[in-house]
Amino acid sequence: MRRPAPATVRWLILAGLLLAWELVPRTKVVPELFLPALSKTLAVLYEGRAEYGQNLLVTLYEVGFAMLIACGVGILVGALVGGIAVLRNLLLPVFSSLYAVPIVILYPIFTAWFGIGSESKIAFAGIYGFFPVMLSTAAGIRTIDPQLLLAARSMGATIWQQIARVIIPASIPTVLAGLRLGGALTIIGVVVSEMLTSAAGIGYLVSRYRTILDSPRVFAAVLLILVLSVLFDLLARWVERRTVVWQTAGRQGRTIAARTPSPATATPAVA
């Protein structure tokens, strides 16, 4: 017997999971508190769309702001650290040591400083997303083929032309990958901080309904966050694909694969 194609199996598994989500709770084997049926979750989501929508806006606002900080500061610091040898030798090992610290323990400091409103979420999630952006920007700049810069110089490129026409385009793939990870972490950071202490946002809804054991509403909020993070991932990958068409084969070649940054920079603490 021929085995079905892996992609088919993947879709079947996904369909099976969704079906199980619908059917298993109906059998009453699993109490609704543990797992409310998919249809019920969706119904609750639709019913409470005004509330979910409002809180989603709060979350999106915080995510947007935090991403601006994470990406802006991350790219800036990463460019400095990656581009200037003195700073790199001085700081990069320090940064990668600090990376081991679970950043979430800083959150209580932020709530004490900025209150439980959006500011503390933005600060926390900004820092959460900052590290991968900074580390991949630094890696992207550090791993530029020196031969390319030499070639540009031989053609009379000024230092600014080297930056604009070689360093920036050459580091774009790594920076974009960093932005994707950083963006994902920013979303997580906002949601986690909302779950911990807040008065609005999707994470807040998760926690509030969890406390009153309203399981379907918890799952509805969880579903919403899942969709949000998957959509962001798809969007980021699409942008990456569109921007780095020239790289498709280079990946197998010598451009990136030969010097993939160490897993420390490639894998963020997705909590």
Binding site: R10, R210, S229, A269, V270, A271
Partner: protein
């Protein structure tokens, strides 16, 4: 810049930070209520370490971290090797794992609470769940890092399966495995912290969250310093072992 100069510069930077943390709040340039001077924080740290309830919390946290780690790493490694070794299942599951990997795990924390209640089991279960995927991915990468040429060369010289395992697979994989342990610990520790801060009756994370809510800034900073030191210490130990083991890599 020579190594010595770098070390000195880093030391100077560190001292400057420490000095600023001590002096700025004392001079009133920064609000001492929001950022207590470092010396206050450190003396609080010494006090805290002596307190029974803090010691108990540390033991609970340590137990959660260790148990979750001991479950997640072998389990993840096993699944990872299985996925890497079977081409068919690899092709089915690898893209899925990638997706699951990029999904935020922390939003499932409430689900763990709904199902398991609040307690040791729930923390460990959640930490295993958070850590498992990164271990699977790294284990897959570790197996794939073994070059088929090397296996072929070993076979052509008549190596047995055992010899191939210990002379080709293990040495090739050790650096990545150590890296996996390191990253897994970061994930694991983060997960336990989140779980404790979110809903818990004990544990260091719980204490930190409480201190934050009650504006006990000295305790809060002392706790943060303590946890950071533990995390960095573990991380650097494994990193040191990594450099020892991977000196043959260029």
């Amino acid at each position: 810049m020579s190594r010595l100069a770098i070390v000195l510069a880093r030391l100077a930077l560190f001292l400057a930070l420490i000095g600023a943390w001590e002096v700025l709040p004392r001079l009133g340039i920064l609000n001492a209520r929001l950022l207590p001077p470092l010396s206050d924080v450190l003396s609080m740290l010494l006090q805290l370490v002596g307190r029974a309830n803090v010691q108990e919390a540390m033991m609970v946290t340590a137990a959660e971290v260790v148990v979750a780690f001991v479950i997640a790493v072998p389990l993840g490694a096993l699944i990872g090797v299985a996925v890497a070794e079977s081409e068919y299942f690899g092709e089915i599951f690898k893209p899925m794992l990638f997706y699951v990997f990029s999904v935020p795990k922390s939003i499932f924390l409430p689900v763990f609470i709904l199902v398991l209640g609040i307690g040791f089991h729930q923390k460990v279960a959640y930490a295993v769940f958070s850590t498992l995927f990164i271990v699977i991915m790294s284990a897959t990468a570790a197996v794939e890092s073994v070059k088929p040429e090397h296996v072929l060369v070993a076979r052509s010289y008549g190596a047995t399966r055992r010899q191939i395992l210990f002379r080709v697979y293990v040495p090739s994989m050790v650096p990545i495995l150590l890296e996996t342990l390191r990253i897994a610990m970061i994930f694991n520790f983060t997960a336990v912290m989140i779980a404790e801060m979110y809903a818990s009756r004990t544990g260091i994370g719980h204490l930190i969250a409480n201190w934050g809510e009650n504006f006990q800034m000295r305790q809060l900073f002392a706790g943060v310093i303590l946890l950071s030191m533990v995390a960095i210490f573990f991380n650097e130990t494994i990193r040191w072992m990594e450099t020892k083991c991977s000196s043959w890599r260029t």
